[in-house]
């Protein structure tokens, strides 16, 4: 017979930054950052748009994640990344508030120097980090023993892949013909 098991009508605590950190990050990072400092980070997503720091994170990660799929020409690559950022913003705008809030926190943390290094595994500032450096950081997150880092990697991987390849302009690489004319 199925057993009864649970806290009755559990209401989860609000996912503020401090809770989110405690949830999976391990004490070293929390200690390094300190509670007051964490609370002072500007959100990565506010009023329907990414912060400048969040855009930097998404651009650097996008370039690393999509290496091999982005156009080779520098100007074309830059335009493709602009398109990616726009589609990411559209995608995030359609997410429910709880998912937006979590993503906002992730991007805010990744945008700080400590977050970039401890969560993202990238030592150089985002605007100077090379593709191999960011890829190494992503790989580190992907296989980390800390589930928060795995979750963060998968969020970046899935969102970037979904947003980039939602544009018909990217389909020639795939040989995907797109919708049939009806």
């Amino acid at each position: 017979m199925p057993t009864t098991r649970r806290a009755r009508h559990a209401i989860l605590p609000p996912m503020n930054r401090r809770n989110w950190l405690k949830l999976g990050m391990g004490s070293a990072l929390v200690l390094a950052m300190g509670g007051g400092w964490v609370a002072s980070i500007a959100p990565g997503w506010r009023d329907g748009a990414f912060s400048a720091d969040a855009q930097m994170v998404l651009r650097a990660c996008g370039k690393a994640l999509l290496a091999g799929s982005l156009p080779a020409d520098a100007a074309a690559e830059s335009a493709a990344l602009d398109g990616l950022l726009q589609r990411l913003a559209d995608a995030v705008a359609a997410l429910p508030p709880h998912a937006q809030a979590e993503l906002s926190e992730l991007l805010a943390l990744m945008g700080t120097s400590a977050g970039r290094q401890l969560l993202g595994g990238v030592s150089a500032p985002w605007q100077n980090a090379t593709v191999p450096q960011v890829q190494a950081g992503l790989q580190d997150m992907r296989f980390s023993r800390i589930s928060l880092r795995q979750q963060a990697y998968q969020a970046l991987h899935d969102l970037t892949g979904a947003a980039y390849f939602s544009s018909p302009q990217t389909w020639t690489v795939l040989g995907y013909p797109g919708p049939r004319d009806l």
Partner: protein, 540 residues
């Protein structure tokens, strides 16, 4: 945009009562019966009630999108037709859940696979949950009616290559595979079922029962979410609702005092598993035996991709036309977890976001996109003591959160499923097989894949798991200690509240659940009509 006829455009012109579509709905409404949700359960319920002469309001949180809006584009479909933009996740982010959120619910975006509830599943429900009336014979007429109504029929077109590969690979190994019945009429074999059917071939609730109910005078309120059932002395006195428009979660304010109040004699909750238990939790519905929101089942899905020499073009042609139940029967139903094998559609967004790896590895996979073949395994959860499923609770904003532990028991099934799929794919001629797992590599032989999968750490997140079937959370049982609702679908503690959706199921189904919902809800609604004094009606 589809230039084909759209019956909704005609219906709206003829004056169907659809509120909330082009402007905010009124603040008070009343009916004999309020049906919350327009998916598989709500649709069937609404048509039958309307035909029985009862005044019906259908309440739908999602938007009204119809064939003229369906452009075969993932970028449009996921944000508009799915819960949480098709990115609803369990609270540890380890399972991504595809669930509809639009008029027609998941039936608008499903892949049309139609199976009756397996006999062994019903036997388990009779044995463990006291549901003595749920026999194959007793349910058969209700399934038949649903099958006629929705044209559930043999699909005579040859399977696309992605499905044919399942048949061919399984046959090489002596594993039986068979054709899947589909609820379509005049299907164009496009393959874009998951983005809404642009040709109106799919006999979803969007095309069938909801329009029928409207034609009989029912009212449909869209973009409007039930925030709370107002319960007094064992009855629901009214339902509070809010116009959703762009908002995606019920706000604290709206739960306390919603703008819209709906009165009725009886209410049917059919918001789908996850949302239905969440509505009852928000309403603080009585739950003396701690049954509400527990035993949520997902048919956790693992996937295996394979590189073929030939073009597969998994985007083209009907998805999921071949299946194998072989691995459901290789052990006892309450033994190690069994699984059903199917072959999904393959489109760019879902492929790029699901396949592990990035950079040059991912771009290499994408360059062979047309040659990629994918199998999936649905794990049959809820039958063994170690498979108690998940639990729905509420976030501080009132939105539902689902905890679903991917424990060793589940992951043992996932490992065996990855092994079976890789073996079948190699038997079907795969040059390489990549199990969808962060730590997997493309393997070039069955021996190599077998050795690797056997050693792979089968843990959440590292193993990519998805779900398209949400069941349970308001389970049905013959005693209040075991379930939220009675065998007639009425809440054990609330006399004028029925639950008519997948959240009724006391376990998972072990097959794609749409026809199980249609059949069971058809039966429950015919009983309900009798009790409400409507004229007797059957579906179809």
């Amino acid at each position: 945009m589809s230039k084909l006829p759209d019956p909704w455009l005609t219906g709206l012109q003829q004056g169907w009562a659809v509120l909330g579509h082009t402007s905010e709905p009124p603040t008070t409404l009343s009916a004999d019966v309020l049906v919350i949700g327009t998916g598989a359960g709500g649709g069937i319920t609404a048509e039958l009630l309307a035909r029985a002469g009862l005044r019906v309001i259908m309440l739908e949180e999602g938007p009204l999108k119809t064939s003229s809006d369906f452009n075969q584009l993932e970028s449009e479909a996921y944000p508009t037709l799915y819960q949480e933009s098709a990115a609803r996740k369990t609270n540890d982010k380890a399972i991504n859940i595809l669930q509809g959120r639009c008029v027609g619910g998941s039936t608008t975006v499903n892949w049309t696979s139609s199976f009756r509830t397996p006999s062994e599943t019903l036997a388990f429900w009779r044995d463990r949950f006291g549901l003595a009336d749920l026999t194959d014979d007793a349910l058969s007429p209700y399934f038949q009616q649903a099958e006629r109504r929705l044209n559930v029929s043999t699909w005579l077109t040859p399977p696309n290559e992605n499905n044919e590969l399942l048949r061919r690979g399984a046959a090489q190994l002596g594993i039986p595979a068979a054709a899947i019945l589909r609820n379509v009429k005049g299907c164009w074999n496009l393959g874009s079922c998951g983005m809404g059917c642009p040709t109106n071939a799919k006999q979803s609730m969007l095309l069938t029962t909801v329009p029928t109910a409207l034609g009989l005078g029912a009212t449909l309120v869209v973009n409007t979410r039930a925030t709370r059932l107002n319960i007094q002395n064992g009855r629901v006195t009214s339902v509070s609702a809010e116009y959703v428009d762009k908002k995606s979660a019920p706000s604290q304010e709206s739960i306390a005092k919603s703008a819209i109040e709906i009165k009725f004699g009886h209410v049917v909750v059919a918001g789908g598993a996850i949302n239905s238990p969440a509505l009852l939790l928000r309403s603080q519905a009585p739950d003396p035996h701690d049954r509400l929101g527990i035993r949520t089942f997902l048919h956790p899905v693992v996937m295996s991709s394979a590189l073929m020499a030939q073009r597969v073009e998994g985007w083209a042609g009907a998805p999921q036309t071949i299946y194998s139940d072989h691995f459901l029967g290789t052990q006892a139903i309450d033994g190690p977890m069994g699984y059903k094998l199917e072959a999904p559609p393959i489109h760019p967004v879902i492929f790029a976001s699901s396949i592990p790896g990035f950079g040059e590895v991912q771009s290499g996979m994408l360059k062979t996109f047309a040659h990629q073949h994918i199998l999936l395994a649905l794990l049959r959860d809820g039958f063994a003591p170690a498979s108690a499923g998940g639990q729905v609770s509420l976030r501080s904003d009132g939105s539902p959160s689902l905890a679903y532990p991917l424990n060793d028991f589940v992951m043992d099934g996932a490992r065996r499923a990855l092994l079976s799929m890789a073996e079948i794919q190699f038997a079907g001629g795969a040059k390489e097989v990549l199990p969808v797992h962060e730590q997997a590599q493309p393997y070039t032989s069955w021996a190599q894949a077998k050795a690797a999968i056997t050693q792979m750490p089968m843990v959440p997140l590292q193993t990519r798991v998805v779900s398209a079937h949400v069941m349970g959370g308001c389970g049905m049982a013959a005693s209040p200690e075991l379930g939220v609702v009675r065998p007639d679908g009425v809440h054990w503690q609330i006399a004028n509240l029925s639950v008519h959706d997948g959240s009724l199921f006391p376990t998972s189904i072990g097959a794609n659940p749409q026809l199980s919902i249609y059949g069971l809800v058809n039966r429950l609604t015919q009983d309900l009509i009798g009790r409400l004094g409507g004229k007797a009606e059957v579906l179809a």
